[in-house]
Amino acid sequence: MPLNRDYIGRKYPIAEPYEVAREIIRRFAAAIGDPNPLYTDRAAAQAAGYDDVVAPPTFLVTLNLRYAGDGPVADPELGLDYSRVVHGEQRFTHHRPVRAGDVLSIVNTVDDIRDAGANELLVTRTVITDAAGEPVADTVSTLVSRGTASGSAA
């Protein structure tokens, strides 16, 4: 069944801020096997000009997943069947590095829903700001909903 196009432009603000802990950055860096000291060593991060350890460029995926249940992907009215979903594209735009100690706020928006052959593309954008309201990063995810375009067999 096609996705509900009325949902293009809908915003999903997240009420509870995301607190970035040093240990979750350490765990993420370990999982990607990256020994860069700026992820784990506060003194090294400070020598590079940061208040505290910084996060890898794709770390904000943890934030998107943390709040997936509150966003468009989990909204039954949007009509996404997660078993049909594959990740199509991902983009991170960093206005500044994410650091341990950051308290981040998130607004998730349905940017677009469109057909691509028999599939539909769901494009969502996450705008991430810090405790002072300053921009930290924008993430754009394109999910492919396989076989749900109108007129297709599914």
């Binding site: 995926v61 997943l65 594959v86």
Partner: protein, 142 residues
């Protein structure tokens, strides 16, 4: 920010040091825990095959993270990566053995931008097949 590469020392066409990354079942379990992505197709062969996949596949975001290491290793400071985007063109299939899959990543300076920024294009393959396309990072150099 403290990029270790000077903009003036870089030319379009310069190659970044490429490298290979092992992708094993253990990598995927660790990544699932660290990222919070527990999708069953990334760790359960029975379920992966039941939805038409050849085997367990890697998280696309894991592949993206590994490819990004070619950029952060080059520039030194991960905070110098201003923008990073990829298209997931085909899945990385991870067999249940001790070697897993081998991801090969290369990078080349594609464009010199203003304000000491450069665009780096990445190529990510497994056994010669492209797994990421349109993979590009915009990096702040010194």
């Amino acid at each position: 920010m403290s990029a270790s590469i000077n903009y003036d020392d870089v030319e379009v066409g310069d190659e970044l040091p490429g490298r290979t990354f092992p992708v094993t079942r253990a990598s995927l379990v660790a990544y699932a825990g660290a990222s919070g992505d527990f999708n069953v197709i990334h760790w359960n062969e029975r379920v992966a095959k039941s939805v038409g996949l050849p085997n367990v596949i890697a998280h696309g975001m894991f592949t993206m993270a590994e490819a990004g290491r070619v950029v952060t290793d080059w520039v030194g400071d991960p905070g110098a990566v201003l923008d990073y985007s990829v298209r997931f063109s085909s899945p990385v299939v991870v067999p249940d053995d001790d070697t897993g899959a081998t991801l090969s990543v290369t990078g080349v300076v594609a464009e010199k931008l203003d304000a000491n920024r450069v665009a780096v294009d990445l190529t990510a393959t497994v056994e010669g097949s492209t797994v990421l396309s349109k993979a590009r990072a915009v990096v702040q150099l010194a």
